[in-house]
């Protein structure tokens, strides 16, 4: 009897969970970033157009999302119909045939309008495998008032030498002002995103053409020792546990003279609701060392359809809506132009209303254009990706190397020891993974 009751309750529950009017229910996995939560809030605009499709959201923090989505797709679990994935995953998963190529997005979608660098990053062999929702690069944000007081002028395209000199000059630890705030929290998407981009500008690379790790090269030594020294003299205390959010809080509280981080931060630091220094922020390109590469990264969050999904048509309709041109206008009409998802379409950067609402738009575009995922470094490399190498092993290796570099920053180990450990652990993992392939 008990069993029968349970089965009955289960059946009722099932019926209750499936809305009777919709033919298809899409389960969409996404990140809990502001732009995605806004998209979730606008769901009704999509379901109004497509009454036969219902939408169920699974919104998760970035690392948790990555774990859930990766284990689901690798074990062919089929929990999700639309995935939110980064530019790191797209080429790897496309090569595994885990993603459905997106060629049915419709004429309104206008593929040619996508920023070329972003489009490259989500295409494999000329085919689009994911559709970018928002894109970002990195740039330098600085305090105009602090620079004026110190008698310094920020060039539009600064060099590392200038940044180091300026950071030391404007640091005033007794007043709680630190010359520069940089990421120090370990993780392939945290400190390694910044450090890899920085190393690219100083001529370093992760692997040579034969997949040999390069942490024993003089370029990496220069990168890490410059970073550690700079942060010791001009960085905030506790830098080894600062990620994007911690640095954002420090900058908004007026504790940083300069901050090199994601271009999306520009709209937060200039928003007077959150930032105490909103009217005193200037922008410049991420620094270079005169070698032809700036310390820019390139990242986009994208929507993709897992192979094996039985609801491909509906999923593609949703993606075309959420990443199409009209969506931008929809957000602008409800939340203002400053809040539209940036960094994916040329047309946005030609829109005078957007340019007026976002003073940092031009520099964001220039930064995105300066990063080249296919030729990220000064010397040739066998991988694609600017602040990462798009191979499955990179997450693990990047995080372990990030731990070593974070230890070098906190002073727990020396720069040389951290580089040696990074080199040996990377060699070990690459050997286990069977490189060179």
């Amino acid at each position: 009897m008990k069993h029968r009751c349970g089965a009955l309750a289960g059946a009722i529950f099932l019926f209750a969970a499936v809305p009777t009017f919709a033919e298809t229910t899409l389960t969409i996995a996404t990140v809990n970033n502001g732009d995605m939560i806004r998209m979730q809030g606008l769901t009704s605009a999509f379901t109004a157009k497509h009454p036969d499709i219902a939408v169920k959201w699974v919104t998760l923090e970035e690392n948790v999302l990555r774990q859930r989505v990766t284990t689901d797709i690798a074990t062919k679990g089929g929990q999700f119909d639309v995935l939110t994935i980064g530019t790191y995953e797209v080429p790897i998963w496309a090569k595994q045939n885990w993603l459905v190529p997106l060629d049915g997005l419709g004429a309104d979608y206008d593929v040619a309008d996508l920023l070329p660098k972003i489009r490259d990053a989500v295409s494999v062999g000329g085919k689009l495998y994911a559709s970018p929702f928002y894109g970002e690069s990195s740039m330098l944000m600085y305090r105009t008032d602090v620079f004026q007081q110190a008698g310094l002028t920020m060039p539009g395209d600064p060099t590392w030498d200038f940044i180091i000199e300026a950071a030391k000059k404007i640091t005033d630890k007794s007043a709680g002002l630190y010359g520069v705030c940089l990421r120090g929290k370990a993780g392939w998407g945290e400190n390694m995103a910044f450090l890899t981009a920085m190393s690219n500008s100083l001529g370093a690379r992760w692997f040579d053409e034969k997949w040999q790790p390069q942490f024993n090269s003089p370029e990496w030594k220069k990168t890490l020792s410059t970073y550690v020294e700079l942060m010791k003299e001009a960085g905030p205390p506790g830098a080894s546990s600062n990620g994007f959010n911690e640095n954002l809080a420090l900058f908004n509280a007026g504790k940083c003279g300069m901050w090199i981080d994601a271009t999306v931060a520009a709209s937060f630091v200039t928003n007077p609701k959150d930032s105490r220094v909103a009217d005193k922020v200037g922008f410049a390109m991420a620094p270079n060392a005169g070698l032809g590469k700036n310390a820019n990264w390139l990242w986009a969050w994208n929507l993709a359809v897992p192979a094996g999904s039985k609801k491909v048509d509906a999923a593609v309709k949703f993606i075309a809506w959420a990443t199409g041109k009209d969506y931008t206008g929809l957000v602008a009409s409800k939340e203002g132009w400053a809040n539209v998802p940036p960094g994916t379409r040329t047309s946005l950067y030609e829109n005078p209303e957007y340019l007026k609402a976002a003073p940092f738009a031009k520099l964001t575009l220039a930064s995105i254009n300066a990063a080249d995922p296919n030729h990220p470094t000064v010397k040739p490399v066998p991988y694609v990706g600017v602040q990462y190498a798009a191979i499955p092993e990179f997450q693990g290796i990047g995080t372990a190397v990030g731990q070593q570099f974070s230890a070098a920053l906190s002073g727990a180990t020396s720069v040389d020891a951290a580089l040696a450990a990074a080199q040996s652990l990377t060699e070990r993992e690459m050997k286990r993974a069977g490189y060179p392939k």
């Binding site: 774990q67 990766t70 284990t71 690798a74 074990t75 790897i92 595994q96 929290k185 370990a186 993780g187 905030p236 205390p237 506790g238 830098a239 080894s240 546990s241 420090l250 504790k255 499955p392 092993e393 997450q395 693990g396 995080t399 372990a400 731990q403 070593q404 974070s406 230890a407 920053l409 906190s410 002073g411 727990a412 180990t413 951290a418 450990a421 040996s424 652990l425 070990r428 993992e429 286990r432 993974a433 069977g434």
Partner: protein, 289 residues
Amino acid sequence: MTEGMRGLGRLLLTPAVALLFLWMIIPLGMTVYFSTLRYNLLNPGMEGFVGLDNFRYFLTDPAFLASLRNTLVLVGAVLLITTVAGTLVALLLDEVIVGRSIVRLMVIAPFFVMPTVSALVWKNLLMHPVSGLFAFIGSSLGLTPIDWFAEAPLLAIILIVAWQWLPFATLILLTALQSLDEEQKEAAEMDGARALSTFFYITLPHLARPITVVILIETIFLLTVFAEIFVTTGGGPGLQTTNIAFLIYAQALIQYDVGAASAGGLVAVVLANIVAFFLVRLVGRNLEA
């Protein structure tokens, strides 16, 4: 009892025992099976039998010895702090007469705070070098604030975990103290014993058993501390706060290496058994005496 009835009893027990056995053996068997495969979720099509290669890989990992050391230091230090401080707090609470139940409730409170929450509170409100309470106290006394998670990360984790487990030790020891015969203490007092002698010759022997229980139960949970590390340091800086549980997590969900993670899991099972074996022998005598 006849032979037949005994047989019937066994027969009736079989389904329950079989279920329990399957409950245990299927996950264990799967782990053993996976540990002999080259199996990375991100590289489908590479699966194959590799024998003991995953174990060799896990045990020769430079992170393994460091994390083993960290695990033992963490367990040992937290046990020491909680039993010593737990005894002292229990003695103190035993003296309190008015409002004992309220005080006891407040002392037990940390035990009910979720590990992730308490780790976040410690990280952001107490130990943060810029905005934390400790930094505020330190700098108002003219000292340089300590950046806990960079300068003494393992100590910081030990403090957090010890704070969580102190109430448990206190509660068990307090209950034991309350069952201590008052007449014994009075007799000792009449014989002219001082407070210290009373403590060492009467109270402490009485507490030997509950302390053993505290140590055994805490060890089981402390070997697998994870949330506090995940939330505060992420195993770093370097490998300074990576314990075995965190290392296995990194293998399984950062590298997606199912083979090595399974091997690591089995190594952890063996290690836990070794620790338990010695602990039981060491303190188990107390239980028998």
